[in-house]
């Protein structure tokens, strides 16, 4: 009765806590999808939406009349335009509804109807006029050439994959820490644990270690997927990329820990998570470059951890950046990670 020996040897609490957290996660099927499946689906959907293909032709309308047939023929020569024949009334209606970007009327000389605030309408105006003038016998003064920029590393998908990687590191880092901890707090699991001699730091470190295991998996899957399906290559050092992912995982685990350090309910922590993540989704250059924001906002945007991570990931993956080139970003990530971890430990609510 109540024997002390026999059975397996007792393992270090850090190993037990990490293994338990990992098993718990593997047994949570929904969580597996959000960590591994969702980013892949997103990359696939966006990759197809923005895949490299000839630019769409702009629909333009030609009003029926004596010159209509000739005009249609001339416009069809342009690779940028998709001309169609309309009656005057139908044509105006189509233009008003945005079905076509440009309507060409007039007898001898064409009259262009379009909305000048629409870029594609202005393009259509220039392209159509060019096509009609050339068909009418205009001679070009010189023959210009086009140099189309579409090399690997500068396509949209090359921009997108590192952004998704950064976004995924943020999402799983924060949710992975926040959700589990608040859940454990709500169910009084934390309270039960602090009623044992367990060191509190062991618990939090184990959460982080377990995150790292999954982080390696999810990063590998996403990078391999981008490489195989979209030929998004890692032009820089793989080791540096791996280091950045670990650092990003650490940073966002810290932020997640801080967000979850006092929340009592899942609703509260969800709200706070979204509040923290939303500005970074929008501003940190996941889907489009933050260069479009006003100059005054840029220092602030660059100080956000996701911006630093995305910039560094793009540097390494697309531009083969060396460590020295991304030192500022590394410093920003380290600072965020350390400060949030320490702050979270200070104010953490165990019951």
């Amino acid at each position: 009765m109540f024997k002390k020996t026999g059975g397996a040897p007792v393992r270090h609490p850090l190993i037990e806590l990490t293994s338990v957290r990992t098993k718990e996660f593997l047994r949570e099927t929904e969580a597996l999808f959000w960590v591994f499946g969702f980013p892949l689906l997103l990359a696939l959907a966006l990759g197809f939406a923005f895949r490299s293909k000839p630019p769409d032709r702009i629909p333009v309308g030609v009003v029926d009349g004596p010159a209509a047939r000739q005009r249609l023929q001339a416009l069809a020569q342009s690779p940028a335009l998709l001309p169609r024949l309309f009656s005057a009334q139908e044509g105006r209606e189509a233009l008003r509804r945005g079905k076509i970007s440009l309507l060409i009327e007039g007898d001898a000389a064409p009259v262009y109807g379009y909305d000048p605030t629409r870029p594609d309408a202005r393009t259509a105006r220039v392209e159509a006029d060019d096509a009609l003038q050339t068909a009418a016998g205009r001679r070009n003064v010189f023959a210009s050439q086009d140099l189309k920029v579409q090399e690997q590393g500068s396509r949209y998908i090359d921009f997108l994959v590192p952004g998704l990687l950064g976004m995924n590191l943020m999402g799983t880092g924060m949710w992975g820490m926040g959700f589990t901890i608040v859940n454990a707090r709500m169910k009084k699991l934390l309270k039960r644990l602090v009623a044992t001699p367990m060191r509190k730091s062991h618990y939090l470190i184990a959460q982080f270690l377990s995150r790292l295991i999954f982080l390696v998996l999810e990063v590998t899957i996403l990078v391999a997927f981008g490489w195989i399906v979209f030929h998004v290559r890692v032009n820089g050092s793989i080791a540096l990329l791996a280091f950045l992912c670990l650092l990003g995982g650490f940073t966002f685990s810290g932020v997640g820990l801080l967000v979850a350090s006092r929340a009592r309910t899942l609703e509260a922590v969800s709200g706070m998570m979204n509040l923290v993540m939303m500005p970074m989704w929008l501003c940190s250059g996941v889907f489009f470059s933050y260069e479009r924001f006003p100059d005054s906002a840029k220092p602030l945007i660059r100080a956000l951890p996701l911006t630093a991570l995305n910039d560094a990931l793009r540097g390494v993956m697309n531009d083969a950046a060396a460590t020295t080139a991304i030192l500022p970003q590394i410093a920003i990530l380290l600072a965020w990670g350390l400060i949030t971890f320490v702050a979270a430990l200070k104010i953490f609510r165990w019951q």
């Binding site: 009765m1 109540f2 024997k3 002390k4 020996t5 026999g6 059975g7 397996a8 007792v10 393992r11 270090h12 609490p13 190993i15 037990e16 806590l17 338990v20 098993k23 718990e24 047994r27 949570e28 454990a184 169910k187 009084k188 699991l189 309270k191 039960r192 644990l193 602090v194 009623a195 044992t196 001699p197 367990m198 019951q351």
Partner: protein, 307 residues
């Protein structure tokens, strides 16, 4: 004072609008099973959690194994075992994984697989915690409290909501722990549990101690070994009941009374006569030997279970 395992003096814990614990003095001696008995909301859980070092008190002194929570928390945690009220363990883990995890926190302790065998949980060792029955979960919670081989076991409502068989199994575990000189402090609102398990019982209500002693002493304090429970139409007036020989008090319950008396053979015929004299008709009538429940009723005018 080597024998004093847990003690508190002048313990007070006030929440915004409730005095959960209001000046409580308790002392638990080595090797005994000490019960905190009281209705829900009496302050039992707050008291035991203060003693466990999980909730800070507003004022008062707490000593456990001669140490204080503020100075010796780490050592105390190694030497005590705790089962919280409705302990929630991680439902995704198996029983054995849970035991191994808890075992890893202690410098020395019991063997997880042996302990599961002792608690008749070895068949469930690979089952997920979420799939266990209420009684199995509760035994696992107690196993988590025992895994560090503690000197003192704190059990908060260990059998609340359990079926009678599970309750018996748990009582058996407590008895075995005590057989090796373990000290137990438990809370309960089941008077039969307190009577069966505890050497001494503190009855608490509204954060106050209202009675303390062995179960026998406490029941003796009623001065009436028997209780008659009856209903009548119309209800008999209180002063008429006092005419019964050996009368020690009465408490209203529903359409009738709980009457505490010396002898049933004397009191029952007299009671029937009193009801008839008042032109009433007797409804239900039953009798039982006095219990802690009756003591609580006589002390507070309320009942243990449903308050």
């Amino acid at each position: 004072m080597d024998d004093l395992v847990v003690s508190c003096k002048g313990l007070r814990k006030y929440y915004a609008d409730v005095k959960a614990v209001d000046g409580l003095d308790l002392s638990v001696i080595r090797g005994e099973c000490f019960g905190l008995l009281g209705p829900n909301g009496a302050g039992k859980t707050t008291t035991i959690e203060i003693l466990e070092g999980l909730t800070p008190a507003n004022s008062g002194e707490v000593r456990v194994l001669g140490m204080s929570w503020s100075d010796d928390e780490r050592e105390l945690r190694e030497r005590i075992g705790i089962s919280l009220q409705e302990t929630q363990l991680n439902e995704k883990l198996t029983v054995l994984e849970t035991m191994r995890l808890f075992r890893s926190f202690y410098k020395s302790g019991l063997d997880p697989e042996e302990l599961l065998r002792d608690l008749s949980l070895d068949e469930k060792r690979d089952a997920r915690v979420g799939k266990l029955s209420g009684g199995q979960k509760q035994r696992l919670a107690v196993a988590c409290a025992l895994i560090g081989d503690p000197e003192v076991l704190f059990l908060d409502e260990p059998t609340t909501g359990l079926d009678p068989q599970s309750r018996l199994q748990l009582w058996e575990v407590v008895a075995r722990f005590r057989a090796k000189q373990g000290t137990v402090l438990l809370t309960t609102h089941y008077m039969e549990e307190a009577e069966r398990l505890c050497d001494r019982i503190a009855i608490v209500d509204h954060g106050h101690l209202i009675a303390l002693g062995t179960p026998k002493e406490l029941i003796a304090r009623l001065e009436a070994p028997n209780v008659i429970e009856f209903t009548s139409d119309p209800i008999v007036a209180a002063d008429a009941l006092a005419e019964v020989s050996g009368f020690h008090g009465a408490t209203r319950r529903g359409d009738g009374w709980l009457l505490r008396v010396d002898s049933l053979a004397v009191a029952v015929p007299q009671l029937i006569a009193i009801v008839e004299r008042n032109g009433g008709r007797l409804g239900a009538l039953s009798t039982h030997a006095a219990t802690l429940e009756d003591l609580f009723v006589s002390l507070t005018g309320r009942e243990l279970r449903d308050v």
